[in-house]
Amino acid sequence: EAGVAQSPRYKIIEKRQSVAFWCNPISGHATLYWYQQILGQGPKLLIQFQNNGVVDDSQLPKDRFSAERLKGVDSTLKIQPAKLEDSAVYLCASRGGGRNTIYFGEGSWLTVV
């Protein structure tokens, strides 16, 4: 089966600019996650969707970050305006089929200069 697809893989922007990341989960997976991973640290959950509803967004900086999954399939994560500390890898993951395993995409690497 096809894995979790993410794009773009790499992005460099200036601070105060905006950026959007796209994720297409594994087909049929109802749960979709966005994680932020700063270099040298473990992934931090930003938001969790169940179909098109938000399950947990307690650690999403809502003043600048937004995410949507309108049709319960693919998802976008937006940052506006970006700050230097947003430089990180943004990992999308999905889970479904009654299994506990979470499948990760390759990540979108963001550098804010």
């Binding site: 979790v4 749960t31 996650y33 994680y35 640290q41 473990g42 992934p43 931090k44 959950l45 969790q48 169940q50 399950v55 947990d56 650690q59 990992l91 993951a93 889970r95 506990n100 395993t101 979470i102 499948y103 990760f104 995409g105 390759e106 990540g107």
Partner: protein, 112 residues
Amino acid sequence: SQQGEEDPQALSIQEGENATMNCSYKTSINNLQWYRQNSGRGLVHLILIRSNEREKHSGRLRVTLDTSKKSSSLLITASRAADTASYFCATEGGSNTGKLIFGQGTTLQVKP
């Protein structure tokens, strides 16, 4: 906030040796999972151990779980250079919401 704390932060061993990584967590869990991340890549699921299990094996991997101490360990036996990666534990809470919280990870270097 991070749930797990991993120890050591970095580990360097020779090929053929065993590598042991430890993970501690704070709250009750439904299960604990271990993931591997090669440099510049996404995370790959290795093994899951449920809260009512004490030990689990998968190939060269052995995971133990001690819920009384809120800790887990991952043992990689007969390590290979290809095992060089970062290893993360992740816990899923007792409420079974599907929320997975990761530790800070252990960076393993296996020297050929």
